[in-house]
């Protein structure tokens, strides 16, 4: 192993440090126009009339568009979202009118001249209320929408998806249990808070072919969503990807793209750039789902989990976006990383007249984990069992079968729990005013999904690797280059990694779900095999051997058992083809044994090609006067399969833990009548260096038989158990249990007062 397990520096470090790296907002094209939108001030209203006459006449305005002009609708899981609102608006901040002009100021002036007449409609903001039969319906025609196969909306209601697991017989389980406990936990609405706002630039050529420059986490998926919306073949749409200044789930799907493309389509030839303001990012892209999760668990007196029933409600806002699959992935894991013979899960994705909720690092898992891991501590306490011990007695291990029927491989959960507990000093004596807590989770990955790779090996041994992995700051380019260097046997500095561009780079499902290292890594390994096979073929003549008797690796092709009969790659190429020699390889990874899940029972023997496991342990200090919780130390032990680049795994963990800290203690979008009151970094509080605890990342390696060099993933699960670990530590410190995120000082004080009352 020359390049695996090595903490090499990021390949894009320099260009990002000096500012030459091109991010989505950096794109500039000659003759570029700018686009902006007018947004709905109502959470739910019929559009009576739109008058754009004056706006169209303003000097510098190239185009003014309304939803009726367009009639276009997009959506990944449910095709429900208009490019611009058509008949009615469904949330405060929904785009209603778009304008293209010579600059942003002219756009704003034009939008000020637009008059929209609304007829307000009853709105619904609470997801449980939205599930009632008499609730105002957001989407009257839900039954007529195009829906992704794995999503099951309930027409005539606001339920965009209902995901189920039926495993064993929970009624019997509860009957057999010694004790049954039930708790409800909820989470507020939070923001990704990526530094770079959403931006894209679109240009349409005279034949109608569309090019989009963006920073999408899934350029091929975005291309498909756009092509589907416009009724175009994929060949008519090109996504060119730039660097993303932060993603965390926010930059998938179509965000600025519909506006830019709609304007560009009618302004053929002219590029149109759209950048959302920070306020628009908050109100009108996506947020993390607020949730209400009820967990009911039957246990034996000695702490064996017998049955668990979970009801999870994901408040998905006005449009489905990725909500249905967030709910599905969350539901899939909602019973926790434990062996439980009887499991019942009902996860609902519910429309409300609020900002759209979608993918957010963790993809629905942090919310259910918040519930089941606080609940777990509560069970431990009520049974009088040590909380770590309770987890160790029940946690999933190699060869165990999940509640969907999957036999597990590569399960580093137990080790993660033990090492996190050790590192936090679980057994050490208690310090007054301080507490320790631990929580653990597992996370699935999007399955099945595919990734492709092309490799060019040039005559001097230089290599170009083409994949559509998006570099969103997670380090994909570097880790994939390490895999390519190892798989091909060439030095890392001879490898150039192409940026994703759907005209050039092979299909990739997405840079989400912590799937990139595993899936794209596998595609690269397959492409490298293809290159090696051809190298052996051309070297066979030169070395007077059969291709099967040759080995390719470490920059050389040689005869098995006679390593002195060897050629470097460059020699093999040049001797066969002279100048201009090259070998092309291709690899396409699609997990053949992957399965879906049955819509009625969740049954599926391989609905996640790998699972990530982790345990976080927190030490907190609480100020009883102010209710302020200070996290002193956060230990995060993660089973990553095999760390290709340990330092970058640690950086992922450190970043994720801080988001976990923020969403646990500080972050919270405050809404009134569907309107966000704190849509900016002044009023929406992010943790700063002041709140930064000591973070101790621990890498647990349980190599996966199907992963490239054993690797799995890490990014998404890194904030999974953080909230529960902190809440459990808080309880340990002062004996109060907060059941609603974030844990604000007010809630702590109120709980303290409640307890003393």
């Amino acid at each position: 192993m020359n390049w695996i397990g090595k903490s090499v520096s990021r390949l894009d470090a320099w260009e990002k440090a000096v500012g030459t790296a091109v991010f989505g907002i950096d794109v500039k094209l000659p003759g570029m126009l700018h686009g902006r939108v007018l947004r709905s001030p109502h959470p739910h209203a019929r559009i009576r009339h739109i008058d754009v006459t004056r706006a169209r006449k303003l000097a510098g305005v190239a185009l003014v568009l309304t939803g009726k002009d367009l009639g276009l609708i997009h959506g990944e899981s449910i095709k429900d979202e208009p490019f611009l609102a058509i008949d009615k608006v469904r949330y405060v901040g929904e785009p209603v009118v778009a304008v293209a002009a010579v600059d942003g100021e002219t756009c704003e002036e034009a939008l000020d001249l637009v008059e929209v007449e609304y007829e307000p409609l009853p709105a619904v903001f609470d997801p449980e209320a939205a599930m009632q039969p008499d609730a105002p319906l957001l989407h009257e025609r839900l039954d007529q929408y195009e829906v992704m196969g794995i999503v099951t909306p309930v027409p005539g209601t606001n339920i965009a998806n209902h995901f189920k697991i039926r495993w064993g017989d929970v009624a019997r389980g509860f009957a057999e249990a010694d004790e049954v406990f039930e708790d409800t936990y909820s989470t507020g609405m939070v923001q990704h808070a990526a530094i770079e706002p959403h931006a894209c630039t679109a240009q349409v050529d005279p034949t109608g072919r569309i090019t989009v420059w963006s920073h999408n986490d899934a350029p091929h998926r975005a291309r498909k969503e756009l092509a589907d919306a416009l009724g175009l073949p994929l060949s008519q749409v090109r996504f060119v990807n730039c660097y993303a200044g932060g993603n965390f789930g926010s930059k998938g799907g179509l965000k600025t793209e519909p506006t830019a493309v709609a304007l560009a389509l009618r302004l053929k030839g002219k590029p149109v750039k759209v950048v959302w303001s920070r306020e628009e990012v908050f109100t009108s892209t996506i947020v993390r789902h607020p949730t209400v999760v009820t967990v009911k668990t039957g246990v034996t007196r000695d702490g064996r989990l017998v049955a668990r029933e979970v009801r999870a409600i994901y408040d998905t806002g006005a449009y489905a976006e990725k909500g249905p699959t967030v709910c599905r992935q969350g539901g899939h894991t909602a019973s926790g990383p434990y062996n439980i013979p009887h499991v019942k899960v009902d996860a609902y994705c519910v429309y409300t007249n609020k900002p759209i909720a979608g993918a957010f690092r963790g993809y629905g898992i942090p919310q259910v984990a918040w519930a089941y891991e606080c609940h777990m501590d509560a069970i431990a306490e009520r049974l009088g069992i040590d909380a770590v011990d309770l987890r160790l007695r029940n946690c999933l291990q190699e060869g165990d079968v999940t509640c969907t029927g999957q036999r597990l491989h590569s399960v580093g959960l137990k080790e993660s729990v033990i090492r996190a507990a050790e590192a936090i000093g679980w057994q050490k004596p208690k310090v007054p005013g301080r507490g320790r807590g631990l929580a653990c989770v597992h996370k699935n990955t999007k399955t099945p999904s595919s990734s492709g790779a092309f490799i060019k090996l040039e005559e001097d041994g230089s290599v170009s690797v083409l994949t559509s992995a998006a570099e969103v700051g997670q380090g994909a380019r570097t880790v994939l280059a390490q895999i390519a260097a190892e798989a091909l046997g060439v030095p890392l500095d001879r490898i150039s990694m192409a940026m994703a561009d759907t005209d050039f780079t092979p299909y990739d499902a997405s840079s989400t779900s912590s799937r990139t290292t595993f899936h794209v890594g596998n595609a690269i390994a397959l492409a490298a095999q293809d290159v090696h096979q051809q190298l052996r073929q051309i070297a066979a003549d030169l070395l007077e051997a059969n291709p099967e008797d040759l080995v390719a690796g470490d920059g050389r092709v040689y005869v098995k058992g006679s390593p002195e009969r060897a050629l470097t790659y460059s020699q093999a190429l040049k001797k066969t083809m002279g100048a201009g020699a090259s070998i092309l390889g291709r690899g396409f990874y699609y997990p053949k044994d992957a399965t879906g899940m049955d819509n009625e029972t969740g049954y599926g023997e391989n609905p996640s090609v790998f699972w990530m496991y982790c345990a976080h342990a927190a030490e907190v200090e609480v100020d009883r006067e102010t209710g302020q919780v200070r996290v002193l130390k956060l230990v995060a032990a993660h089973d990553v399969g095999k760390a290709i680049n340990p330092q970058m795994c640690e950086q992922q963990i450190e970043g994720g833990v801080l988001t976990g800290l923020g969403t646990t203690l500080y972050e919270w979008m405050i809404l009134k009548d569907g309107k966000v009151l704190n849509p900016n970094f002044a009023d929406y509080r992010l943790p700063t260096a002041m709140e930064q605890p000591e973070v101790i990342p621990i890498l647990v390696e349980t190599p996966h038989r199907d992963g490239p060099f054993g690797a799995k993933g890490v990014g998404e699960v890194t904030l999974g158990p953080t909230s529960a670990a902190i809440a459990n530590a808080l309880y340990d410190a002062i004996g109060v249990r907060i059941r609603d995120l974030p844990i604000t000082p007010e809630k702590v004080l109120q709980a303290l007062r409640g307890r003393s009352a």
Copy 2:
């Protein structure tokens, strides 16, 4: 055949018509600086001293560089050309000092402030004089230069290459001949006259990785030349190709690139754009070689060619550039497309203190053809044999062996001659003051050389094709898309063609030598086979058949003999992999049976993987008062193998014939003491619509067994016989023979006077 032999419109027609297509000069990057150079006023001089102090102090100037600062040298065939002159200058117009500044005007101002002290050296302008032992040497250290394997310079002289053919025994041949004739013909210096001047933009990232945006006809070769000059691995250099507004050989190699890259290297992060003025294009890029060619032929009385000796001198100017291979390719064909048992060729590429000569459409062939085809008419006249008849008695046919030992396949020469003669009305009665002439040639293609292709087949049947073929206006994108559509069995409008970019698109030797349709087309066909093989594999399970029993084509995979057991490509993909299905294919074409040529004898059994043949026939009218020659009609019959897109073949022919017309009658760079006196379109006369004759293209199809669908090439040979056809017609009209191109009215009048005197 759905897409082969169809005159579909150019894929890039619309974007070029409305101006959205990006050409090399269109590239604009944020923060871009501009680069210019100071050029030598001397044809040969030692640089005593350069003072850039004042230039460096000028506001707006970012960098001033001299050759000594750099010490960099590049060169494709001979590494002899400094980025900026180092110790001495070798031609008027050679770059001496480069400057980067905020705009072009500031660059000019800065260059005005530079003081260079020269010591003039004796210069040599005539190539035959330059070959003399006492001639001033341009390159004293020719023996120490890096030289391409197939090039044989003669150190201690100005000979940059000496190419030889020794076939049979010419002495014996001449002895056995009934008659021996010898003539000498020469050609002047001409310009490509592409509309778009040379331009490139370079940016160097903080790690030293170079990106060049250019319009190069061979981005991979240019990358290699630049990497070699800088001592970098190929992975450190990226060439992004734009459209070229005309090429004709002018945009290969490094032209603006060394200046832009040299400046960008020291201004890390900042893009530097360099555009040459029209005058600089004329004086300081490349020109077509002036030549002096002597042909001596032994014939039998009945018109059988027995022996031919050719001495061809290519005046290559101050640096080798592609001169040595131009001389080689010209020399290879210099005995003409005839069966001659004894052949001796000596072709010399000679340095002189003049603008650099390099690739020009035809690559050395038009100059030797000018000689041997005028000579052929002279022989016919002196033997009293009809000129067409003489050619038909001797011309190469299927199965014949060339003077290098190559057995020929796909030889449409005879048919071309016959059809051209018919179309010009060869047998029709003569009209006074008018004449008819015919000439025919053959042309080789660069061999061996390789091309690669990647193909992505997407889930809806859309296709991306990645090759590095450069679109220089010849229609490569369209023809290659037709080949891809046919080979894959998908509609043409589902195919997107990537522009060349060395980070993404596979290796391709060059879009020169009329090799693209054949070589890149073959690579695409191989990649399509790879896609089909995988399609059969995945469809086998679904159709319950063996992959070997399945056929892929026309958008479907079906069971041999049971075409109703079928799946569309899209069905096969989606049923196997669901959403996000994709197939990746790769093809790399390298002609395995290709050979080089022996440096001493030219012997090589397959030094050209295909040969192009054509015959042009001209009808001219001559004004005896003014000496003006007017071409009334030009017939051009071309053996293209198989016309993938007949209309584009005809357009190639029409364009080439007009260049042929221009270089025959009008175009001529006039030099005095090495200085070009007419470096612009006002003083350098190009043919206009006024001079446009009726052009009749005729496509002859002799499918080549190794070509994609039988195709060969066409572009380069299209002006091969034009000059001789016109000169032969002129002789037919008024009985004067002009032996030096161009045929100006002055030369015609002088010849008429000489004859009457």
